[in-house]
């Protein structure tokens, strides 16, 4: 045992305040009188987790359906695209001819 050992082992607090035990017991009784801490709401937490999982699953499912239906719509439009263009051109052409005829008639009236 060296000097350092002797110094460190001989350390002690001299005397204890007379009412220390009473003060501690008062603090302990206050702690005992406190309402117990609220337990963790495991049921609500579990329900929340399940709801989140449900929402996530339904979201994935809806995205799949939407992606599939969007792809179908695009494919259908792509398939009928050319005839539609011809039809649209024919409609516009007819309308243009009708408009010209009306304009000529109006000019003749004047």
């Amino acid at each position: 045992m060296d000097d350092l050992d002797r110094i460190l082992i001989s350390d002690e607090l001299l005397g204890v305040r007379a009412n220390f035990v009473a003060a501690v017991m008062q603090a302990v009784e206050s702690a005992a009188a406190e309402p117990p801490p609220l337990p963790f709401p495991w049921r609500a937490f579990g329900a929340g987790v399940l709801a989140c999982l449900g929402w996530s699953a339904s979201g994935v499912w809806l995205l799949d359906i939407l992606a599939a239906s969007t792809a179908d719509v695009i494919a259908t439009l792509a398939a009928v695209g050319a005839p539609l263009e011809y039809a649209a051109a024919a409609v516009f052409g007819t309308l243009a001819i009708l408009a010209l005829q009306r304009t000529r008639r109006d000019l003749q009236v004047w």
């Binding site: 350092l4 110094i7 460190l8 350390d11 002690e12 607090l13 501690v24 603090a27 702690a31 005992a32």
Partner: protein
């Protein structure tokens, strides 16, 4: 009073407290308050703070009493609870101040007051321990608090004895370097 009798009294009081008799905790406080105060004092070197820390440790022990299963001695369990409580209390506080005035080695005025100076120097050494990093402070404080009982100190710190031994050795070397740097003790303390 033997350790076994103390243990029996503690076990009986624990059972009574767990059965709802809060006043039975008074027996535990009366038996252990000096030890817990002494330990708190070694950590903070401030009487008032030591009392606050020891009081808080008892309250924590009361709240955690259900977790005492009797695997270890009650004193070991209580000291471990107190140690955790003290660590928390000291976490955000500055380390205690050390007054080095007149206690440095070789002070010219030290001659006639050698005994007093030696006492003050010893106190400065203890203060220096309280300022060490937790990794070294806790093993040193606990080892000497437990009258150099390595096994019990290791059990309280939840570390193997070999680890505690290594930390003690490194901690003491660290402490000696600091003390030498502060001029409190010579570089090597053997044979002083």
């Amino acid at each position: 009073m033997s350790g076994a009798e103390l243990g029996d009294e503690d076990a009986a009081d624990v059972r009574r407290v767990l059965d709802g008799d809060v006043a039975a905790f008074g027996g535990i406080v009366r038996r252990w308050h000096v030890r817990l105060l002494d330990l708190a004092w070694r950590f903070c070197r401030d009487r008032s703070m030591a009392e606050d820390m020891a009081q808080e440790a008892f309250v924590r022990a009361f709240r955690a009493l259900e977790s005492f299963r009797g695997d270890a001695a009650f004193s070991t369990w209580l000291t471990a609870v107190a140690l955790n409580s003290y660590r928390n209390a000291l976490r955000n506080r500055p380390p205690p101040l050390i007054d080095l005035e007149g206690i440095r080695l070789g002070s010219p005025e030290a001659g006639p007051l050698m005994k007093l100076i030696a006492g003050e120097r010893a106190e400065a050494v203890r203060h220096m321990v309280a300022t060490l990093p937790d990794l070294y402070r806790d093993p040193i404080v606990l080892y000497y608090f437990k009258e150099m009982n390595l096994a019990e100190a290791a059990e309280i710190l939840h570390v193997p004895e070999g680890t505690l031994k290594a930390r003690l050795h490194r901690g003491k070397e660290f402490l000696k370097r600091r003390l030498a740097a502060a001029g409190i003790l010579h570089g090597g303390t053997h044979g002083q």
